[in-house]
Symmetry: C2
Subunit: 502 residues, 2 copies
């Protein structure tokens, strides 16, 4: 998930200054209409890594907004008064009244994160506590509070630099000792943070993951997202109340990115498509990996460890070829490869996940999926076969399904095979002109190609929202087929070794 905030997004001084006038106008106008209507309140929760500049951001927001309609609450150690009441009392006391905005630094997530890092609460307790917060936010949203949650993220290197600098802001209450602690607990913190975001992200209280390396990018992104929410608060309130009051399963939002191209890099942009592998190198490495995999697969079988490998990717990205190469390393008694197209009539008679549940192999087997349950958030989304409400709830459903698999001991590996539009064109033409490949290219492939950018958005959302700690995505550089196949094979070998305790 955090890969999505390691893209190097930034905003030059010129771009920043170009964004500013309309951003400030929108923020003020939005705030004004919020106050005038007084039907909706806005709650902004700011969380993130130490050093990510939460206090700096806050100061910017105060400069941009009208401070009269704005209150900030920091929840440090509870007072006597607060300790004598139920935990959530201090937060209820700090809710924004209709027409106003409240900013909670940390809010009802902070203590939980701290407790989880120090293992004061168990995994189940954490999950349950998060569920409580999700329900609370749902209720508050239905009662007229628009909730926005921002998570400020820094790559490790940047965080280290930041924390080594002298700093007197409230972000740095604990000085150098605090900085060291923050860096040491960073992996655990991020691990828990991911869970927090995944389990409490909802349409009415979305989490926005914000890359905080560049302050201008960070602040404009947050500012634009708030402005957008302010301008729509009234309207979305009405939408909720009247049309689809409790449509919580609409997925959470992507932040409103600034217009500059440096700010609009996506996850797919981070795949290096220039990699190549020579035929000789390929042959050597492939043979080596094939042997390793073959042995590992038998060990997994003895250990009753099931492996599911999902292949998604652009048309002509080489899914079939990768699957065949992988299969060549496996004993035919151990694996099965299944291909999923449009559901059959019988399959349509069941919930969409049924056909995948149905095919789950017995213990110890390897199963390869040529396309999978992700159809719902890719082709069904883009082609309009599924309504917005349907495909957007699928992210949560898929995450739950995959957790179920992983908890039962399954090794789940997911690949997205990435190529450029040019390479796709080249391969399509090759298919058309090669007799034994002609069956692989249809009018539909050409039609899909026209929707490249819609698919690109869908893939980015998918990778971001279903790339979880337990079931991460591996993006494969598939412009060169040899490179792609080796990347796939070595990832499978790596994951099997890991799972078998090597």
């Amino acid at each position: 998930m955090f890969q999505a905030a390691e893209l190097g997004r930034w905003l030059s001084k010129t771009d920043f200054e170009a964004e500013l006038p309309s951003l400030r106008a929108n923020l003020l106008q939005g705030q004004l209409s919020l106050m005038r209507e007084a039907q909706q309140a806005v709650l902004v929760i700011i969380e993130g890594l130490d050093g990510s500049g939460r206090a700096e951001l806050l100061n910017r927001l105060y400069a941009w907004l009208d401070p009269r309609g704005l209150k900030t609450h920091t929840f440090w150690d509870p007072s006597d008064e607060e300790q004598e009441r139920p935990f959530f009392w201090r937060f209820w006391r700090s809710l924004p009244q209709k027409g106003s905005i409240a900013i909670h630094l940390g809010g009802w997530y902070r203590d939980l994160l701290t407790d989880a890092i120090h293992a004061k609460i168990s995994d189940v307790e954490l999950e349950l506590a998060l569920e409580k917060r999700r329900k609370l936010e749902e209720m508050l949203a239905l009662e007229g509070i628009t909730i926005l949650k921002f998570w400020l993220y820094l790559p490790e290197k940047v965080q280290r630099e930041r924390l080594s600098q002298e700093d007197d802001t409230p972000d740095d209450r604990w000085g150098n000792a605090g900085a060291k602690r923050a860096l040491k607990s960073r992996p655990a913190f991020l691990n828990i943070a991911e869970q927090v975001m995944r389990l409490t992200d909802s349409a009415v209280a979305p989490w926005y993951l914000v890359e905080a390396t560049d302050a201008n990018y960070r602040d404009v992104t947050v500012g634009k997202t708030i402005a957008n929410a302010l301008l729509n608060a009234q309207q979305s309130h009405l939408r909720w109340m009247k049309e689809a009051e409790n449509d919580f399963t609409r997925g959470g939002g992507a932040p409103n990115l600034p217009d500059s191209p440096t700010a609009r890099r996506s996850l797919l942009d981070s795949v290096d498509l220039t990699l190549t592998t020579s035929k000789a190198d390929y042959k050597k490495s492939f043979e080596q990996l094939r042997k390793e995999l073959s042995a590992l697969a038998w060990r997994a079988w003895r250990a009753k460890k099931t492996t599911l490998i999902v292949f998604e990717g652009w048309d002509a990205a080489g899914k079939g070829g990768a699957i065949r190469r992988l299969a060549s390393a496996l004993d035919a008694r151990l694996y099965r490869a299944v291909s999923y197209g449009a559901p059959t009539e019988q399959e349509q008679g069941y919930p969409y996940l049924w056909r995948f549940w149905h095919e789950l192999p017995r213990a110890g087997r390897v199963m390869m999926f040529d396309r999978s349950w992700y159809g719902r958030v890719l082709v069904e989304r883009v082609e309009g076969f599924a309504d917005h409400a349907v495909w957007s709830r699928a992210y949560h459903e898929i995450n739950n399904f995959e957790s179920e698999l992983v908890e039962s001991g399954v090794i789940l590996i997911k690949f997205w095979l990435h190529i450029s539009p040019d390479m796709q064109l080249q391969r399509f033409k090759e298919r058309e002109s090669t007799p034994y490949k002609q069956h692989k290219i249809t009018d539909e492939d050409w039609r899909n190609r026209e929707k490249w950018s819609a698919y690109e958005a869908a893939v980015n959302d998918m990778v971001f929202r279903t790339g979880t700690e337990v079931a991460p995505w591996t993006l494969i550089s598939a412009e060169d087929k040899y490179t792609a196949r080796l990347q796939v094979l070595s990832k499978v070998v790596e994951r099997l070794k890991q799972a078998l305790g090597d």
Copy 2:
């Protein structure tokens, strides 16, 4: 909660035979349209106490429905095949296809109940596992499966009798030893069952608590509820998909009761309004209780135990009087009494629970609420101040709020003061003719009175759906004021003693 299934509801042979023709016609017609449309499937989950006649009910359903569109699944010990897959695999395998009905005996609740009773899982694990099931059911519902869950209940005495009889049905796989075990674990089982029903009851997969003492009543109630769902399956499917797809917070349902008056007794009907107390007895007991309470309140203060006492009841049922008598036992520094009418303009600026959170006292105090957060599911529901979607989600919200209070150590006591319509009329007239009482009676009181039966339904729903293990309702017989006051006082004394470990 289970009080609602101890009402002695039954159906005479004549009434049963009168219901049968239309019930069977509806079941078959509903099943036929389900098959014909093939857009929706129906999943019936049957749970309940041993001896409640689950197998007997099942046989009736097979006699009434067309068995060709019906499949029953019993989940005993998992097979080898099943053990090698994730837990839910066996249930996915047993889902009904569109156009058909599946009956799950126990289903995904049974193992959980068993594990919880034997303390194989902790409370948090149970809660989380229930949350998982709730989400699964939500998804299945959105994917076209109408889910009905029945819980068959027997009073203890009846269960004991039933289990002592020789019986060869599959209900009784374990013979006499099983019967003994079932009776021994009954309290634990019911405790967990309540949690199961509370946490997994939703609009799309409601639990129906069915009194199973009388077989005719039991089977007709279940049959009517299934018939109703079958006849509406198509329509409600469309409603969900089109209008308010994910409107899950609409509360679960009350079962469709047979028409006979013996089958329509409600919780309020179970309050004995004939009780009276002589003035002399009242004085003596009152003095005794007053002293006890006074001492207990100081002890609670020292123990930092906060007590919240909620008074709800009919107009003129004597809430004010009861609060004054209770207050007379308490040191003025220790208690506060607050009265809640329509929310002020400021209060309307926040979520509806805000004004109650806001007033929560410091540790060790007693607070009495003359009306409370239950306004939302009483006056706001009946008078239409809150939409259906709004008041029906309030049951869950209130349960969550009260859990939060109780978990933080609060002693929460809830009273409904019950009187007959005749007594209300008598007291209204008395108020009108007594100068110092005239301020207590308004036109609104007379208007409310006209909606007695709508309020009665709302009160029954409220008591049933928010009468939880941690925050039970006490129904007070308030026809006689002395009786009412003594009942209130002794309940408060009892609860404080309990909480202070006496």
